[in-house]
Every structure is written in C-alpha cells, then in structure tokens.
C-alpha cells in the first residue's frame, strides 16, 4: 500500500511525517508544475475551480509514480470541495487508473462513516497492528510539524518585508523547512524550530524600514498554496510589504473540529463585521473575506489582496461586495481571479502597480 495526498502549501511536510511515523508507505506527488496543471485542465470541465484541476493533476502524477491509495479531505456544503471526490473518482476511473480512495470526513457522523465503509474495510486488511497503534503518536508528530511550519512561515513573512538582499529570506526559509522535514521525534522538531529561527534571523534586515501592511484574504486553497497563487505572498514580501493572513492549516482544522476559543472568536468577529454588507452566512470564506477587509481597514492596514479561483461559488459574491466595501471605506482592495490562463507576469505587474499605489497613498496621508 502506497498512500498519496494532494499538495497544498507545506502540507506535504507534515503528511509525510504522519505516514513515516506510523510506518505506512507513501508517495509525495511531484511538485505542482505546468504539467500538473495541464493534466488537470485536460481532464476536467473549464468551469470547475482551479483547486479541483490541480488536485486532480497531483493525483494523476502520483498514481503514475505507483501510488495506490489516495487520501483526500472532505468538506461539507455549500462549497464544491465536498463533491470533489465523487467526480474525481469517476475521472480517474475513466482514465484507466487504479486507486483506492479514502475521504477524511469533515464531521464524524454516521452517514459519513457508512459511505466510507467499503474503503476502510479494504484498508484494515493491509494495516498491521503496529501501524494502528502508532497512528495517534503519528498524528501528534504531524500536528507538531504543522505548527512548526506555520511558525517559521509567519516569521518569514516579517523578515521578508525587511530583507536587504531580495530573495534571501525565501532561500533561508526553504533551508529551515528542509531541516524541519528531517526531524523525526518531538524533541528533534523543537530543535529544528530553534535552528530554523536562527537561520531566518541571520538574514540581513533593515530594521528601520516601516513596511506597508497588506492582508491576504480569500479562498483558502488559493491563499495557502504558493504554486497556485504564483507566489503572491512572496512577491509582495519582496516588494517590501509585510503580509498577514488568517488562513492557516491550524485555523481551518481547529475550526472544523470546533475547538480553539481564540480562533473561533476571531472568526466570529469577522463574521459580525461582514453582516452590514452581507446579511447571511454564505459559507466557506465569503463572510470572512468581507469582514476581514472591513476590520483590516479599521486596524490601519494599507490594503487587502483578495484571491479567488475563477468561478468559485462563495467568493464570487464576496468579490462583488468587496468592490463596494472598497469604495465605501476608501480602502484599496485588489481582487485576483486565478485560473489556468493566468501568467506570472500579469500578477507581478498588478502587484507592482498595487504596491506603488499604496506607497503614494501613504505619502499623501501620513
């Protein structure tokens, strides 16, 4: 049995850790590339959202490499993510690829378990007792690694905006993450974090600089994966902008588990702020995108970048309303709609123009 999973930001680091610790064979799909996207686009409808295409491409490439069990997160209504597996299974079958599919249900309830029954029964035969008993420990290691990744990434966001040599932080971040990737035990992870922070701290910084502050909001997949958003976060950082985002693995996992008071309170705050423009919970990140924009404007941020895949159902509503929010509050919002036609040059140009505009605004008002 060889397990595989889709790419999403630094997800491969901790998914790998879980599989490794539990002693399960795994295959990390090749890094999302032009070929991945081409494969995904070729075998799907043009109006399906970009995450669907990329995940499909990841799976096809992983299955070509010899993986045979796909692990995929499920989600509930109203977003399309919840039905990805239904359609992707049919597509993979049609392509003549063989696989077993395991959906992690968003909520553990009877219907979800029943629908997953056949797959889990098969799986049980192949897992040894050791795999099952070490699994909770593996999950703990995975969680720790995920938090460590997030900590390093958050630090990098601050450092990048002040770096003296452009591109240095990114290199150091990759080095730190590679070190973390090698860590096997809980203690080793702690050491890797300290080491990583030291590496990031060694980047030459211009401490006097007062970078612009920009928040990235929008659909979580496009916000979190640098391959999909063509490195918006990094590009902004290297233009001297301090980037903030609220979409992290931990925040989404905690939310779906219903724990984490701080996290929930923050989300509720955004939701309440959005109510003056949007009278109901639309679902997914739509309300949070709007609410966060309003609150960031009040917090004195310089601007917001709103990311969404083409034809994303909830964010379409958000983009229409954000247009109005931006006009009402006099607050710059840049909406980037991403699809396979997107090229990096366009995004760079748009972001450069956006940052220039923010600079002028700052000089005029302050």
């Amino acid at each position: 049995m060889k397990v595989t999973f889709p790419h999403l930001g630094t997800m491969h680091i901790f998914c790998k850790a879980i599989a490794e610790t539990a002693g399960i064979d795994y295959i990390v799909p090749p890094k999302t590339s032009k070929r991945t996207l081409t494969l995904g686009v070729k075998h799907s409808n043009e109006c399906i959202c970009l995450p669907f295409k990329i995940i499909l491409g990841n799976f096809i490439e992983a299955l070509e490499l010899g993986a045979d069990t796909i692990v995929m997160v499920g989600s509930g209504p109203p977003c399309r993510l919840g039905l990805y597996d239904l359609v992707q299974k049919v597509i993979l079958e049609d392509l003549g690829l063989h696989y077993r599919w395991l959906t992690i249900p968003p909520r553990l309830d009877w219907p979800a378990l029943l629908k997953n029954r056949d797959e889990t029964r098969e799986l049980k035969k192949e897992l040894s007792l050791k795999n099952i008993t070490t699994f909770p420990y593996a999950l703990w290691i995975g969680w720790k690694k995920m938090m460590a990744c997030e900590r390093l990434e958050k630090l990098a966001l601050r450092v990048r905006a002040r770096e003296v040599i452009t591109g240095r932080t990114e290199k150091m971040l990759q080095k730190a993450l590679a070190g973390l990737d090698k860590a096997k035990t809980g203690r080793a992870i702690e050491r890797a974090i300290i080491e990583g922070e030291k590496i990031l701290g060694s980047v030459d910084q211009d401490r006097g600089r007062q970078p612009l502050r920009v928040a990235i909001v929008g659909e979580l997949y496009t916000v979190m994966d640098p391959q999909i958003n063509r490195g918006v976060e990094r590009k902004l950082g290297e233009m001297g902008v301090e980037v903030t985002r609220t979409s992290w693995f931990s925040s989404h996992i905690l939310r779906s588990l219903g724990v984490g008071r701080e996290n929930r309170r923050e989300r509720l705050r955004y939701y309440r702020a959005s109510l003056q423009y949007l009278g109901y919970d639309v679902g997914a990140e739509c309300n949070v995108s709007i609410g966060e924009t309003i609150l960031r404007a009040k917090d004195g941020y310089d601007g917001v970048v709103h990311l969404m895949p083409f034809a994303c159902m909830p964010e379409t509503t958000a983009s229409g309303i954000l247009d109005r929010v931006s006009r009402d509050l006099g607050f710059p919002v840049l909406t980037l709609i991403l699809d396979e036609q997107e090229n990096e040059g366009r995004i760079t140009t748009l972001l450069e123009a956006f940052v220039d505009m923010l600079m002028w605004r700052r000089q005029r008002f302050h």
């Binding site: 409808n45 049919v90 629908k115």
Partner: protein, 330 residues
C-alpha cells in the same frame, strides 16, 4: 395598494404561482419585470455580479427594471427549498447584491427561506412577510394556504403547459392549461437543467419552443417522482447536497435508462459551479456505460449564446435522435 415587484429571474421560474397568489390574496398589486432583451449588459450595475453566471446577472437587470415601478422588491434569500438539501451558495448573497445595485431606491424584502428549519417552514416564511406588510395572522394563514393550493395545481399542470403553451405563457397564470391532448411530434426528448435555464427566454433562448417545432414531445424532471430521483441519487458514493443538483443528476440517470426517451438535452449556464461539476460527472459516467445509446447533448449558455447557434445544435441533435430511433425500430 402596495405594489410588490417580483423579478422575472432565478426561482421565479419555480415559485411564481406561490408567491403571486400569496401577495394577491393579501391585496397587494404584483408587478413583474419585463424581459430584459439584449441591451442589459450595457448597464453599469450589472457589474455587481460580473463574475457570476448569466441568470444571476439577469437578476440584477430585472431588479433595476422594477425598482422605479414598485414600492417593495421581493427578493427572498433562498437558502434551501428542500427538507435536507440546500441551494447554490450564490443565492444566499442575492438580496445583498440587489440592495447594493439598487442603492436603496426601493425596499428589498429579503426574508430568509430555509426549508430545513422547523415543522412548517413555508408558514413561518409567509408569516414573516405578512407581518412585515402589516397583516394579521389569520389573514396570512388563509392566504398562504390558498397560495399553496395554486402552486400545487400549477406543478401538476406544468408538463401539459410546457407541451401546450408558448414559453412566454407557461408562467402566465391567466392562460388556462390546455387539455391533455397528445402533443404533435414523434420524438420524446427530455430537457433537464435548472428551471431558470429552461424557461427563461433570455438564458435558454426558448429551447422548448425550438424543440417542439422540430417535432419533439418534451419530458421534464418535474414529471418524475421525487422519491424515485432521491433513490437513484442516494446510490452514489457521496451525498449531493444541492437540491437542484440532485434533481439534475437523478433525472439524467432515470431518463437515460428509459426506453421511451429518445434523447436528453442538458442546459447549463457557463460558470455555474453546480453544473460544471455535475456535467463532468454525467459525461464520464455515460462514457463508461457503452450500452447506453441515447444521445446526450450539453448546451452551455451565456450572454453570447444566439438563437441561431442553439437552433443549429438542436437540429443536428434531433436528427441524431431520429436516426437512433429508426435503428431501434428495425
């Protein structure tokens, strides 16, 4: 008398009899928007839904058309119209977009309609609206019950209306339903899709009329048993949670397995999230079943769709269906 405007878009094409009967019984004047025609994209406020599907954009255009003629716009927030399943998430934001687009020129009635809640969701919804208009509970109850009867009768007649009336008259309640004469034509074609794709002339370009002129008898999903659809869809590996999506998938699966149907046409809007996903699913599933030889046509609709383009495709499709039928008969 209070004038209530019902935009002729989206779920108008399912619930118009219910809504109009309710308001009429409460003594309101119901104003319906005119067909928008071609020029609507020139209007600026359509930009509020620029990234959305055509029916959503038309909704904004219809509301702008109504806003000067009425006191109140009736744009309910449709969250769910089924006991268990929900609507497309875009419907949840529609009243807010309309409020922004009309700029507060008319009052927008945006009561949420969630069929999953409570024992009597329609009763609760009608009470909320009636009270907002200043009526007493007893009058509201009578009106809402009367409206339900009108809707039930309309739904029963819908298949006959589709086959017997011109598309503009299907939702014109003053036109009586024609008698159940066997409609002219020798080919049975099933049309599936969201109701606003099928019946809206601005979206679907009168596919129903075109198909009838080509000698087809029309079958629609409403003629099927809801229980049967549910049973069919429940066999899939994952629960489809959009009620319209379930209807489309279930109807397609049933129609394509039936012998008395010669062809199935699926009308989908460009950029419709539900259609994009389900279309791919249907395509792959039927590709896998080699024995299914019923022709299946997907028509993608957007603001650039022309009547001529649709007619060409439909003619070719009907020819293929005829061919298939002849082979079967031999």
């Amino acid at each position: 008398m209070r004038r209530i405007g019902i935009p002729k878009a989206l779920m108008y094409y399912r619930f118009f009899p219910l809504w109009s009967a309710f308001f009429r019984e409460l003594g309101c004047e119901v104003v319906i928007s005119d067909p928008v025609g071609k020029g609507f994209l020139g209007r600026q406020s359509v930009a509020y839904f620029e990234d959305s599907c055509l029916p959503m954009k038309l909704m904004v255009a219809h509301c702008l058309d109504l806003v000067e003629k009425v006191d109140t716009l009736f744009v309910p927030r449709l969250i769910s119209i089924h006991r268990k399943y929900i609507m497309c998430p875009k419907f949840r934001g529609v009243p807010d977009i309309i409020k922004l687009a009309t700029g507060g020129q008319a009052e927008v009635m945006d009561e949420p309609f969630d069929f999953r809640l409570g024992n009597d969701p329609w009763g609760a919804f009608s009470r909320a609206i009636g009270q907002r208009l200043g009526w007493r509970s007893r009058e509201i109850l009578a009106a809402s019950r009367g409206a339900l009867r009108v809707q039930a009768k309309f739904e029963k007649d819908l298949v006959r209306r589709v086959n017997g009336l011109a598309i503009r008259d299907i939702f014109n309640l003053e036109r009586p339903t024609p008698e159940a004469t066997s409609p002219a034509g020798n080919l049975d074609v099933a049309l599936i899709g969201h109701p606003y794709n099928l019946y809206d002339v601005d979206v679907g370009k009168d596919v129903i009329g075109m198909a009838r002129e080509l000698g087809c008898r029309i079958a629609i999903a409403d003629s099927l048993d809801g229980y049967e659809i549910d049973k069919k869809v429940s066999t899939l590996s994952k629960e489809i949670y959009w009620s319209s999506g379930r209807e489309i998938i279930g109807a397609a699966l049933i129609f394509l397995a039936r012998d008395d149907i010669n062809g199935v046409v699926f009308l989908s809007s460009f950029k419709c999230g539900i259609d994009a996903l389900l279309q791919e699913y249907l395509k792959r599933v039927f590709k896998g079943q080699r024995e299914s030889i019923i022709p299946f046509l997907t028509l993608s609709l957007d603001e650039h769709t022309t009547v001529q383009g649709m007619a060409t495709r439909l003619e070719a499709f009907v020819d293929i269906c005829r061919d298939g039928k002849r082979k079967d008969a031999r």
